[in-house]
């Protein structure tokens, strides 16, 4: 499969150390969907103003075509913070569950295939 035409990005904040792990997981998820060599952009969110504009609820946020693909269930406030994810086994994690990430990615990219 060709790389996705939609921009795949990680929105990240420098105060949180999880973006490298998130990038590795995201590349693995893209590979599992056959989207090899899809470029993954890093967008740094470093001001409260930009966090509010993007409704950035924490780092890392995975976005496709400018939209958070894992918006979650809670209406969390925009903030420069690390994002809280929950694994499918219930554990709290600084990165999304790989299965949740792959499914959300597949759903988000289906509009662009």
């Amino acid at each position: 499969m060709s790389p996705s035409p939609a921009a795949v990005e990680i929105w990240t904040w420098s105060g949180c150390p999880s973006h490298e792990r998130a990038k590795a997981d995201l590349v693995a998820a893209l590979d599992s969907l056959g989207l090899h060599d899809t470029p993954v952009g890093l967008r740094w969110v470093e001001t409260e103003e930009e966090a509010r504009e993007r409704h950035f609820i924490g780092s890392p946020t995975i976005a496709v075509a400018g939209r958070d693909i894992l918006p979650g269930q809670l209406q969390e406030p925009a903030a420069l913070t690390c994002r809280v994810y929950h694994r499918r086994d219930g554990r709290v994690s600084p990165v999304p569950d790989p299965d949740d990430l792959r499914e959300a990615l597949q759903s988000a990219l289906s509009d662009w295939s």
Partner: protein
């Protein structure tokens, strides 16, 4: 000034998130664990149960585990004192949970992350500073850096690993925070 292993940690007093104040004097305990934490940090939450287990396991050996929220609630409303009190009411903490609104204590300790863990021996000297253990994702890790430090202190032995790198969310500092902070003192 910030504390490094070997430094004397001065007593301090802070409000409890659920009311009242607590004075912590490490010299009256066999050892004392101080944890700078947060309500909405995935690293702090991932390690929370393991650190709370330390609080339970060492309580009858004269070791209090003091957790402290120092984040600026204006920057992260989920770290408000009220949100912290809710967690205490739900029984999430086996030890005291304090609120460092001025952030002076966090600065005096040199805390930068959540969680950032300090183990102080019975003479009041900082014996360990760093992460709870080496893997926030593994329940098997059991906060072993902290447990090892405590076991060595309680056995009258030197702490073999006094410093590790704290891993977690950056503390959210107040924008109006003063540039220089003195030593915290009760």
């Amino acid at each position: 000034m910030t504390y490094t292993p070997g430094d004397i940690v001065f007593p301090f007093t802070l409000p409890r998130v659920d009311g009242g104040e607590l004075t912590v004097d490490p010299r009256i305990n066999a050892a004392t664990v101080v944890v700078f934490t947060a309500n909405h940090c995935p690293y702090a939450l991932a390690w929370h149960d393991r650190l709370d287990a330390v609080a339970r396991d060492y309580a009858d050996r004269g070791v209090p585990v003091i957790q402290i929220s120092a984040n600026d609630q204006a920057r992260q409303p989920l770290d408000s004192r009220e949100a912290s009190a809710e967690r205490v009411a739900k029984g999430h903490f086996s030890g005291p949970y304090l609120h460092d609104e001025s952030q002076e204590l966090a600065r005096a300790f040199g805390a930068e992350k959540t969680p950032d863990v300090y183990v102080i021996d019975g003479t009041g000297r900082l014996a360990y500073h760093g992460a709870p253990d080496d893997d926030h994702e593994s329940e098997d890790a059991r906060a072993h850096y902290v447990r090892n430090a405590l076991d060595q202190i309680l056995a009258g032995q030197p702490v073999l690993v006094p410093l590790t790198e704290a891993v977690g969310c950056s503390i959210k500092w107040r924008e109006d925070a003063p540039l220089t902070i003195g030593t915290a003192q009760a």
